[in-house]
Every structure is written in structure tokens, then in C-alpha cells.
């Protein structure tokens, strides 16, 4: 079973890429589910099929002949929230209404930040465990919220657990007294039960899913300066939390026909440079590239054609890069950053710290690596390259 999540900066074509990979894999005989985890769903728009919160079966045709089936779903975050968090959100809604907030507003307010994203991933996890699919493709929200989502289960649940314990202890003590003193509705035990269920059972399962070797993330980007910058930061954040990135998808390359239009001449030239940068910066990750189409890529037929181009050299369900990528490891009081550089020669290697980035040069190749915030306050204490792996050590700053 494979779970592949597609994420990237807003507007780079995540949904199209996720849908095209799913359609293409399904047309090759795999049992595939494609799920939209972005609260602002556009999967249905792209597939041109109305979708609901239960997987819907879609028939694929190739030249009029049946070529496979695909399951697609848009997770209803609200329904998921009420499934896992029902008592809590009912309580919050009640509380808000009590405050004279209008009913409709109260329901909106009861959705705490992060909760929608979290419960959405829980639904995906449940389908992934069903065993009915060979491949589950997830269309994620833009980088920042997707990252938050992926990184939330890993550790936040320990913090939440402690808070909850504390909360419950306080409420147990205070509630009997407070009921008489305060005019607001107080939470009952079912509220805590739901909160605990979500925190203990569900978040734990989610961490498993995310660290599973069958799960990988693909970064979708377009050959533009700002998009590349953000994708580099996303890769650092993902590495920090041990999430494997197995490929980069580069969308919207202007095709040769476009180069003939004088207006786009400069764009074509710039894109060529950006394209080289992407290969350089993200090496050794494979780059899957697809040209801009002459019309919006919507509908099963166009998606299948797009998938065929995108995955001309790779199977969409394969793990496209199995070697560990960028890694951060604790080492004594400091940290070590590890980056595989298979063909680098030590004498050509140059590592410099430039602001919030580490710039690694091997010969003519550059690799900027944005540093995690915590490492910004540390000094580089050494770097070495052995067995094709660059290791850069960070130590707490003497002056700090």
C-alpha cells in the first residue's frame, strides 16, 4: 500500500497533479483512491465529477473502451470534526450561543484552528487502512498548512495530552463548585472523552501513517523564483519532521509553441534557467516535468493524457527515491545536518552560511538549504563529506 501526498505553494497545480497521477495509475490497473484534503476543495472541479464525502467510483475510458476504475472523495471536514470532536464542538457552539453570538456564527467559531486539517487526515488514514486500495493519492492544502498538518501528530499530541490531563484535573475540581457560581455552561465528561479519543487514539495512528515507509510526499512547483524559494523551505521543514520527499513535480513549463510568441520569449528564457536551478537545488530527487497545456487540464480524459506525460519515465505509485534525503539529527548539545551528495569530491566542496541559509557548493553546483529556526541561533562547528554524505555540525553559539 502506498500513500502519496502532493503539496506545494498555492496555485502551482497540486490538485491537477494529484488527479492526473491517480487517473493514470488507475488506468494501469491499480486500485486507486484520490482524496482532497484541502478544505477549499477543487478536486471535483478538476475531475469534472461531483464528489462527496464517501469515495465515489468513476469509470475511466480510453478511446471509448473501459480502461479502469478510480475512487475519488472530497473529505467533508465538518462531518469529520463532528465525528471526532462532536461533543467538544457542540459544547463550544453552546457556549458561543450563550454569549449572544448568533447561531450560525457560533457554529463557525466552534471549529478551532487546525482541527479541520487534522480530522481530514484522519479520514484519509482510515481509508488507507481499509486495504481496498493499492494507492491512496492525497491532494493537500498549500505548503504551510500541509506542513502544519503533517507535523502536528508527531509531537503535538504529547503536549495536548499533558494539557488535557491538566485541564481535566482542574475542571473536575472546579466544576462542582463553579456550576453554582458561573452562569456559563460548563463542559461535561463527554467533552473530555471526545477530546481524549482524538488525542490518544487518532493522533497516534496518524504519526504511524506519516512515518510509514509506504508514505511519501511530492513537492509540486512551477519554475518561478518565489515558488522555488518556498519549496526549499518546505523541504527543510519536512526533513525536520522526518517526512520523506521522494520527488519534485515541475508544472507549467512553457511548451515550444509558446516560445514562438514574442511576448513569452523572456518567460521561456527565465524558465530554462529556473528549470536548471530546480534540478540543481533538489538533487538527487527525480524531477517530473509537465508542459503547460493549451487548455485547462480538467476532465478524466485530459487528466489521463497529462498523467501519461508526467509519468513517462516513472510509475506514479513507485517510491521514486528511496535513499534518505536531507536529515537533521541530534548530536550531543548540537545537531548534525546530513545531505547525500553521491558524486561530490571533498576538495570541491564548499559550505557557507548565508543569512538563514546554508549554501552548499560542489564544483559548479549550488544547493541552498534554508535552516530550521532553532539552528539559526547556532554556529557551524564543522563539516565533512564521507561515503557520499555531507555532514554539517551545529553547536550552540558561545555568545548566546
Amino acid at each position: 500500500m502506498r500513500v502519496v501526498l502532493y503539496t506545494g505553494k498555492g496555485g502551482v497545480g497540486k490538485t491537477t497533479t494529484a488527479a492526473a497521477s491517480a487517473v493514470w495509475a488507475a488506468s494501469r490497473g491499480l486500485r486507486v483512491l484520490v482524496a482532497s484534503a484541502d478544505a477549499a476543495h477543487s478536486l471535483g472541479d478538476v475531475l469534472e465529477e461531483p464528489l462527496g464525502d464517501e469515495p465515489r467510483q468513476l469509470e475511466l475510458k480510453d478511446g471509448g473502451r473501459f480502461s479502469g476504475t478510480l475512487f475519488a472523495v472530497e473529505v467533508d471536514a465538518r462531518a469529520e470534526v463532528s465525528r471526532h470532536w462532536g461533543a467538544v464542538s457542540d459544547y463550544l457552539g453552546q457556549l458561543f450561543r450563550h454569549q449572544g453570538i448568533e447561531e450560525v456564527m457560533a457554529d463557525e467559531l466552534a471549529l478551532l484552528p487546525g482541527l479541520e486539517e487534522l480530522t481530514t487526515l484522519l479520514a484519509v488514514d482510515a481509508w488507507a487502512r481499509e486495504g481496498a486500495y493499492d494507492l491512496v493519492v492525497v491532494d493537500c492544502a498549500p505548503t504551510d498548512s500541509a506542513l502544519r498538518l503533517l507535523t502536528l501528530p508527531e509531537a503535538a499530541h504529547s503536549a495536548l495530552r499533558i494539557l488535557l490531563k491538566l485541564q481535566r484535573a482542574i475542571a473536575g475540581l472546579v466544576t462542582p463548585l463553579a456550576r453554582n457560581l458561573v452562569a456559563v455552561p460548563l463542559p461535561g465528561s463527554e467533552v473530555f472523552r471526545d477530546a481524549e479519543g482524538l488525542i490518544y487514539r487518532q493522533l497516534g495512528k496518524l504519526s504511524e501513517l506519516i512515518s510509514d515507509p509506504g508514505t511519501s510526499v511530492r513537492l509540486v512547483l512551477t519554475p518561478e523564483r518565489m515558488v522555488i524559494d518556498e519549496s526549499l523551505r518546505a523541504r527543510t521543514d519536512l526533513a525536520l519532521f522526518g517526512v520523506a520527499v521522494d520527488a519534485v513535480v515541475m508544472n507549467r513549463l512553457l511548451p515550444e509553441e509558446a516560445a514562438a510568441e514574442p511576448f513569452f520569449a523572456e518567460w521561456v528564457r527565465q524558465q530554462a534557467a529556473r528549470r536548471d536551478e530546480v534540478a540543481e537545488f533538489f538533487a538527487p530527487l527525480p524531477i517530473l516535468a509537465a508542459p503547460l497545456q493549451d487548455d485547462e487540464v480538467v476532465g478524466l480524459a485530459r487528466l489521463q493524457a497529462h498523467g501519461r506525460i508526467l509519468f513517462r519515465d516513472h510509475a506514479p505509485e513507485a517510491l521514486l527515491s528511496s535513499e534518505p534525503g536531507l536529515e537533521f539529527r541530534r548530536e550531543g548539545s548540537g545537531y548534525a545536518l546530513r545531505l547525500p551528495l553521491p558524486n561530490a569530491r571533498a576538495e570541491e566542496l564548499d559550505v557557507t552560511r548565508v543569512g538563514a541559509q546554508l549554501m552548499v557548493r560542489t564544483g559548479a553546483l549550488r544547493r541552498p538549504i534554508p535552516l530550521p529556526r532553532h539552528l539559526l541561533g547556532m554556529d557551524v562547528s564543522g563539516a565533512r563529506c564521507r561515503d557520499g554524505i555531507l555532514e554539517v555540525r551545529f553547536q550552540p553559539s558561545e555568545t548566546a
Binding site: 490538485t15 450560525v104 498549500p142 504551510d144 509531537a155 503536549a159 518565489m226 518556498e230 527565465q270 529556526r373
Partner: protein
């Protein structure tokens, strides 16, 4: 101080237009603060120079800052941060704990506080905010309400509870797991600051949002929802910036099909957003670096002052009317005879003669039948079951 919030779907050009708005306003002599509250900051990327968590002048009359929740925690919320850090260190690696300190909600909170800090300096006429993509921005805007409720109800309760518990828990205290007084004090200060911001944001004569869109279907759908939601949360939207419109010279040959599709979209944008609108053509190259952005600001804002209030009032409001939810929509100039209102899926379709306007429904109204719709003095009131 005037506050202009630039918001929209990811990738539409919010940052670019936050910068052009700031530069355009500065060119007219306003003292401008450009604040990025998107956790995935790109003001620095767009300008091609570092812009950090501390205010830094980026052009004549413009000071910029990329709000960093962590930095802000370090500086102003020592007590709170200490508490959180201890909680997190219990079970996770320090490096990860550091990133996790910024849990959902905190970012919004600190972004709001940053707006207040700009106002408090008294040194700026305009604060231009480069917001996070729509979803997070809406969360940020409704945050003061959520916080107010928590503060008013739980805060005193929690505080008393913690005091009560402290002696009991003392022997088990695993390194400060019971929040101390100083944390509550920190929260109280934070609250009073956020309440100030609430006043700024809800003041439609000072604060407005501008929606940045591209002429594509998917972007348009989302913009409709944002437009309605912003209005519902009490924030007036006074303009739409349609970014990356294929210029006539570019919509030829291979791009012909794209150009035709865009024309249809532009028409839809015109009817969907009955507010001032500017259309910005696609540039012949990537738009980064100060000179290019300054040139664009000059072209866009020769006649219109980007700091001015382009339009006043909130076009969509939600309230309760004799026990039923009521959506009020401004339709200046509409007459009863030509009007048709229909709830369809998650939208409200309003047909006025030949033109139709689609208003995204708040989620709580989706699926509810319409009781009745009434038009009076240019205001359409739709009552739901």
C-alpha cells in the same frame, strides 16, 4: 491609521500586490508600514532581499516586517513561551519542540498584535498587510471573537483553578506543568492588545480588504467564498485586483484558447464583485525586485490612491431575524420585478434580468431552504429555515 489587507487564494499574487500597494501609497506621501503575516513569508523573496522579523526600510517611505511568531514569543511572551517549551520538551526533541511552539492559532494571534504595534508607534499613515491564503486570514479575523469568549468565560475560571490546584500538585509538578501567575498575566496583556486590534479591524472607515484574484475558474470560486466571509466577519472589501490578465499581444496563436477562456472569466468577475476593480496585465517576465515592482506600482496607481477607501460599507451581512438566519445583500439599483433568488448547493444565485450573481453561502446555511426573500431600498434580505 488606515489598514489595507491583501488576501486571496495561494499563488494569485498577494505579496506582489501588497508591495505595489505599499509603494503606490508611499509615492503619494503616506508613511507606510508593510506587514507580512503569512507564515510562509514571501515579501523578502519578491524583493530579492532579506526582510526579517524586525522592521526594516525597503524603499522611500516604506518600512517592512515579516512577523515571526517565534521571534515575537521570545521578545514579549517569555513566561508563556517558557511554559510551552517545558510542556513540549517532555516528550519531543528540542529542535522539533522549537518549531511546535507555534501551534495553530498562535500565529494568528501574533499577527493581529503586530497590527496594533504598528498603530501604537503613531509613525505610520497606512499599514498594508500581506495576509496568508484566504483560509488562514479568515481564521485570523475571527480570532478576536473566539478569544474574547474564552477570556470572558474560562480565563478567570482557569486562573482560579490553577491556584486551587497548585498546592495539591506541588509534589507531582513535572517541571512547571501547572501554569504560573506570570503566564496568566502575559495572556491578559495579550488579550487587551487583541481587543484593540479588533476595534481597528472592524472599523470599516479604517480597515478594508482587497481580494487578489486570477481570471481562472478555481480561483474565482474561492474568491466568491472569501468575499462573502470577509463581509460576514465584519470586514469590508473595497476592491478586487485581477492579476495576470493575458495582454492582447500575448493572447495570440498558441495562447488563443487561454485568452478566450479568460475573457469569459473576466466577465464573471465583473458581475460577481460589484466593487471597484483593477485589472493587471501579465508581465513579460517574472516580477521580482524593487525596480520592477516600483514600476508596476507607478502604472497601477497613477490615478487611484491605493491608501484611499475605495468603497464604504459591508455588502453582505448575516443576522437573525425573528428566529431565522437572514442574509442581507446590498443590491443597489435592483428592482423587485427583475429579481430571482435561488439557493443552489453551497451558493445563492441571484438573477437580475440577464445578469446573475453568485454569492457563496456560509457553511451553516448550506442545505437550508429559503423561507422568503425580500428587496427593500437596494437591500436584499433572504430568510432561511
Amino acid at each position: 491609521m488606515r489598514v489595507v489587507l491583501l488576501t486571496g487564494k495561494g499563488g494569485v499574487g498577494k505579496t506582489t500586490h501588497a508591495i505595489t500597494t505599499a509603494l503606490g501609497a508611499a509615492a503619494r506621501g503616506h508613511r507606510v508600514f508593510l506587514l507580512s503575516t503569512d507564515a510562509a513569508h514571501s515579501v523578502g523573496d519578491a524583493l530579492g532581499r532579506p526582510v526579517g522579523a524586525r522592521p526594516v526600510p525597503i524603499a522611500e517611505g516604506v518600512v517592512a516586517q515579516e512577523v515571526s511568531a517565534l521571534d515575537e514569543l521570545d521578545r514579549s511572551w517569555g513566561a508563556l513561551q517558557k511554559f510551552l517549551r517545558q510542556l513540549l520538551k517532555e516528550e519531543t526533541d528540542e529542535l522539533v519542540a522549537e518549531e511546535l511552539l507555534v501551534f495553530p492559532g498562535l500565529e494568528e494571534l501574533i499577527a493581529l498584535r503586530a497590527i496594533r504595534d504598528v498603530e501604537a508607534t503613531g509613525e505610520f499613515d497606512v499599514c498594508v498587510v500581506d495576509c496568508a491564503p484566504t483560509g488562514s486570514t479568515l481564521r485570523m479575523l475571527r480570532f478576536p471573537d473566539v478569544l474574547r469568549i474564552f477570556m470572558e468565560n474560562f480565563f478567570e475560571l482557569e486562573r482560579r483553578g490553577a491556584r486551587l490546584l497548585k498546592p495539591l500538585l506541588e509534589p507531582f509538578r513535572a517541571g512547571g506543568l501547572v501554569p504560573g501567575e506570570e503566564m496568566f498575566d502575559a495572556f491578559e496583556r495579550l488579550w487587551s492588545d487583541v481587543d484593540d486590534v479588533r476595534e481597528i479591524l472592524m472599523d470599516t472607515s479604517r480597515t478594508t480588504a482587497r481580494l487578489v484574484v486570477n481570471p481562472t475558474q478555481v480561483v474565482l470560486e474561492e474568491a466568491r467564498r472569501s468575499f462573502a466571509y470577509l463581509s460576514l466577519y465584519g470586514v469590508a472589501t473595497d476592491g478586487v485586483i485581477v492579476n495576470r490578465v493575458l495582454p492582447r499581444v500575448a493572447g495570440q496563436g498558441w495562447f488563443g484558447r487561454w485568452a478566450a477562456r479568460e475573457q469569459a472569466m473576466l466577465e464573471e468577475i465583473r458581475t460577481s464583485f460589484p466593487i471597484p476593480r483593477i485589472e493587471v496585465p501579465l508581465e513579460p517576465r517574472e516580477l521580482t525586485g524593487l525596480p520592477a515592482l516600483q514600476a508596476l506600482a507607478g502604472r497601477l496607481y497613477t490615478e487611484r490612491d491605493p491608501a484611499a477607501l475605495w468603497r464604504q460599507g459591508r455588502p453582505i451581512r448575516l443576522r437573525t431575524h425573528s428566529g431565522h438566519p437572514r442574509l442581507e445583500i446590498e443590491l443597489p439599483g435592483a428592482t423587485k420585478e427583475a429579481l430571482e433568488v435561488d439557493a443552489r448547493g453551497d451558493s445563492l444565485v441571484i438573477r437580475l434580468r440577464d445578469a446573475s450573481r453568485i454569492v457563496a453561502l456560509p457553511r451553516s446555511l448550506v442545505g437550508r431552504p429559503i423561507r422568503r426573500a425580500r428587496l427593500r431600498e437596494g437591500l436584499l434580505a433572504v430568510d432561511f429555515e
